[in-house]
Amino acid sequence: MNARDPVELARAALLGVAPDLAGERIEPDTPFRDQFDFDSMDFMHFVAGLAKTTGLDIPERDYPRLQSLRDCARYLEEHGWRAA
């Protein structure tokens, strides 16, 4: 993983909750739920993992803004996440 690329960071968080997606193509601009079986529990696990990895506090009201890898990358950058 390129730790400087927020899309890759979000992808790693996604694989953390859905390891069966490893090796599959995940379109960065397509909502997760349109690409694979990803229910609300998976989604909540994913965002919790993303918050933990980045150290950002992601309030639940912002969750609708995190529907795709690109959404997540944009959100992280807007909220001051910087690559280590």
């Binding site: 696990h45 919790a48 912002d62």
Partner: protein, 217 residues
């Protein structure tokens, strides 16, 4: 819990959905099917072709029928091989369906997102009892938050439930969802291996559940 007897939506359309009832349908579902089964069901209730229906989104994304059909309120959820649709007039229902599968990290999810008392109650359980209670709480939260039109972004901990013999009962709701006593909640057993819940804010109503095992046309 309600059984889901097979029924034909077109036959029910004739008798109608009265203001004292909520109907819940179990429909077959497969990935990629979109909302076509839901549209066909709603069209059967309204006596119009599915192509005549238009959908709009509420301020937080909750879908609804556009005028002139907006008096028929619905909620929709799918998981695995099934979908559930809740229909009502005069109240906004919220429905959730989950395929029960092992969730080894359920407690972690509960500790992050549930009210402290709910997480503590789950910690006191183990094995199947914990799984059952977790799904009861989860479906209750989703059903209420979907009825509210807000979804999980409202904050699942802001609608707290008491666990009573494995069932969830509204206990303390915050913000616009309050008070908890204004809500009706019913657990659903739509099919073996699946659990669900339907909720609405308002007076008790008669809950009727049906299964359409072939696509509605």
């Amino acid at each position: 819990m309600s059984p889901f007897p097979p029924a034909d939506p077109r036959a029910l359309a004739a008798s109608g959905l009265d203001a004292a009832s909520v109907h819940v349908w179990r429909l077959p579902h497969h990935r990629g099917a979109g909302r076509s089964a839901l549209a066909a069901l709603l069209a059967a209730y309204l006596g119009v072709p599915a192509a005549a229906l238009a959908f709009v989104s509420g301020p937080h994304g909750k879908p609804a029928l556009a005028p002139p059909h907006d008096a028929l309120a619905f909620s929709w959820s799918h998981s695995g091989d099934y979908a559930l649709a809740a229909l009502a007039r005069g109240v906004a229902p919220g429905v959730d369906l989950e395929r029960v599968q092992p969730r080894p990290r359920a407690l972690e999810l509960a500790e992050r997102y549930f009210a402290a008392e709910e997480a503590a109650a789950l910690r006191g359980l183990s094995g199947e009892a914990r799984t059952r209670a977790f799904f009861a709480l989860w479906t209750a939260k989703e059903a209420v938050l979907k009825a509210l039109g807000r979804g999980l972004a409202y904050g699942p901990a802001r609608v707290a439930f008491a666990l009573q013999r494995g069932r969830a009962a509204p206990r303390a709701f915050a913000g616009e969802a309050a008070p908890a006593s204004a809500w009706q909640l019913h657990a659903l057993a739509p099919a073996p291996g699946y659990v669900g819940a339907v909720a609405w804010r308002g007076e008790p109503r008669r809950l009727l559940a049906f299964a359409a095992d072939a696509p509605v046309s």
